[in-house]
Amino acid sequence: MTLDVVGQKVERRGLREKLTGEARYSADLKLPGMLYGAVLRSPHPHANVLSIDTSAAASQPGVHAIVTPFDVPAGRIDGDLPILDTRVRYEGDEVAAVAADSPERAAEALSLLNVEYEFLPFVLDADAAVQPGAPEIHPGGNLVGGQPISLERGSVEQGFVEADLVLEEEYLVPPHGPAALEPRAALASWEAGKLTVWKSTRGVHPDRAALSRALQLPESDITVIGPYLGAGFGSKDESRTASLAAVLSQRAGRPVRIEFGRREEFVSGRTRHGARIRTKVGVKADGTITAVHTTAYVDCGAYAASGPGVTRRLGQGSLYLYRCPNARYDGHLVYTNRPVGGSYRALGAPQGHFALESTMDRAAETLGMDPLEFRLKNRVPPEGQPGIRTTPADAIVDTQPVEGGIPFSSNGLEQCLIEGASAFGWGAPKQALPDPTRKIGRGMAMLIYRGGPGNRSSADVRLSRDGSINLLVGTMDVGEGAETVLAQLAAETLGVGYDDVNLVSADTSLTPTAPITAGSTATFSTGTAVVQAAGELRDKILELATVGLEVSADQLEARGGHIYVQGAPERRMSLAEVARHIPGDEMTAYAEIVPGSTEYIVNAFGAHFVEVEVDTLTGKVYIRRYVAAHDSGRILSPAAALNQVEGGISQMLGYTLSEELITDGPTGITLNGSFLEHKCPSILDYNDIQVIFADIVDPVGPMGAKSLGEPPCAAVAPAVANAIYDAIGVRIKELPITPDAILHALDPSAGGSA
């Protein structure tokens, strides 16, 4: 297949507008008469709200609406999340909200709300929260769902019996904040009983459904529009913001905009889940793995949100990255009185891979094998895991299955290991540093991630009589470049230029249904729908061109904005000429698809190699070299892909080395909801990353693509932790690996707050 647009460097959609300042994000929008909303947040980690006296606030000039749990609509945003509740479950939980004609007056009104709280005992630790007598955060107990997620292939009990060596390791990972630079915002406005909400979102249709549940309004009365998004990183789940803005706006009879402050975004946004993870592996003396068993205790925070999906995903590496007939995962998701965990980029995979790939490094070392050799021997092969397929033959295969007996659509893991190691120079001798206090170490880790199939999605492609093309998709570009890739896929299929496709996205009143942009599924799900819809439109165009070109449609080809007779390129019509023959105003094609395959598991793979330098006097870790090799199928948009991999790695170096959202044990108050105290990487921390893409064209994905956005995040922490171990000879099993943690590891009597 010769490609003209896909695989080419194109200008990122919307970047020009972002660079000129024209791009309007949610908080940049204003409407006439708009009020400023603000949210009162609980100062206590767990309490009952007994009463709220609103009289002082309501009598202030400029205050137009107040909403409290005692007068809020009864609907629910989520199973455990009403719009407001008389129980607050973490410090930062929503208590009430106001709308006023200036931000200052809104803040003043909040301070005048007189809330009577009944303090309740609180619990911040997932282990303690499941003990008898622990404070109950939601009815039914603190173990979400009442039982762990337990999955097993073969018998790990039997597998450990067969092993010559059994290792069991425990790892701790903290919650940390995605800290999108754009704080959440929502603008709500009512007209003739119908609601329009512009909000920071990763899916307008799911958000419309949540508003419909919460406000008990039919979806037909609600429009949700996603303006530019200042990044989501998976975290911009529907919280209460849009519902509160809608209720305030309804009461005030004027539009209301709520914006989060930075601390609100850290504390009351969504975090990556902290967890305690135990990984047990059995190996034979020759290095063959006989069993892998991972048990995770995941700190859910105060509400379930996407915790169940994250907890499930945490086990994927253990169940599937290494070829092994016996594998088991038990994931416990536990409510605590901490900030709410969400689906931060790569949801669960970074946590699980940190434990798995650290443990596997230890196994290799214990056996005297090179970490690369151990992984090359045990990596999951293209034919998948041993075992017998239990999924019915006509059912779409789960992208994160447990069972064996199902092959991958494509599997470039070996290529990633070999090409990554070669580019890195894995076997080459390490440079010795003249300063004996500085140590060099090397580490690696590999990764598996679901390849992209998501929920049902759709696309609508239209050719107007003037030859212009509109592509309508519900998908929200969360900053990663979905619009760019989808426009490329449409242009390629239609045989037109990238700039010839006008894309309209993320507006429930205009665009067809799409799932949330999450789990690295947007390209795969909506991309598949785009290719199908654009293919149908192209076929109609060819049919229309048969009149002018006087051959049958199967002899025609669409390319470069023209319709050609195959083999006779001089016999052609421009698309604009053909379009003039459209019977009505426009010709359209619509496709709605359920992505995936009944034959194959679709997964992305990768291998990361890193060399660190550790200053043993200060504990500081420097990244000297980083090589990331990825199999994400065909790379549709090379510039955006490079940016995604580099960015994902740099972001997760923060997770590995510096970031942690700290909640104070005695008070339950989160201490570091700011960029100064929750240390995200700056440009000074950035060092070059070499990115390699395996030469794989997936037979299932749209034009051969698989997922890309999240996979780079999965392998960073274990690769770096393995390198630090190689440098200093002490294995640190808790993130973040701060200078303090390094000094403490080197000398347990020194440093170390742990």
Binding site: R12, G14, L15, R16, K18, L19, T20, G21, E22, A23, R24, Y25, A27, D28, K30, P61, D101, S102, P103, E104, R105, E108, P178, A179, A180, L181, E182, P183, Y228, L229, G230, A231, E259, G261, R262, V478, G479, E480, G481, A639, A640, L642, N643, Q644, E646, G647, G648, I649, S650, Q651, S674, F675, C680, P681, S682, I683, L684, Y686, D688, I689
Partner: protein, 164 residues
């Protein structure tokens, strides 16, 4: 929008992107607030409102400043440039063009701040080393961590400005 007023008000002239604006501003309003909420120049972003992220960076004279950390009354009478000033009649500034060509941004929320800091850097140091670029931009956070592409874009912008 502020009737009656809750805070002392002064009438000032704010010179933004070469245009003088006579404005009644509350003393407590930041420059960022006035740019965004009064003048509707929303290119300067609110990322933290407390001098931690750089998304609100504008130029005050030749110097990049955090607009969230300056009161509007302090900026009165001094030339202010925001990201909206860079493109002229639809033609991008070389710095913008370099960020566009090199994919120097993803979600774009940090981009206006990075552009203004880069402009200030290249105006004072037309040929910066990579280390000088990093130090100059250390006050601007990019949470997409597009730092690799941003560094490449700044180098390309420097080369482009030298060539033209």
């Amino acid at each position: 929008m502020q009737e009656p007023s809750d805070s002392p008000i002064s009438t000032i002239t704010l010179q933004v992107n070469g245009v003088d604006h006579r404005l009644d501003v509350e003393h407590r309003w930041t420059l960022l607030y006035v740019l965004r909420e009064v003048l509707d120049l929303t290119g300067s972003k609110v990322g933290c409102d407390r001098a931690e992220c750089g998304a609100c960076t504008v130029l005050l004279g030749d110097l990049p400043v955090y607009a969230c950390q300056m009161l509007a009354v302090q900026a009165a009478g001094r030339p202010i440039l925001t990201v909206e000033s860079l493109a002229q009649d639809g033609a991008l500034d070389p710095v913008q063009q370099a960020f566009l060509d090199e994919d120097g941004g993803q979600c774009g929320y940090c981009s206006p701040g990075f552009l203004m800091t880069t402009k200030a850097l290249l105006d004072s140091n037309p040929d910066p080393t990579e280390q000088e670029i990093k130090f100059a931009l250390a006050g601007n956070l990019c949470r997409c961590n597009a730092y690799g592409r941003i560094i490449t874009a700044v180098k390309a912008a420097a080369a482009q400005r030298k060539a033209s």
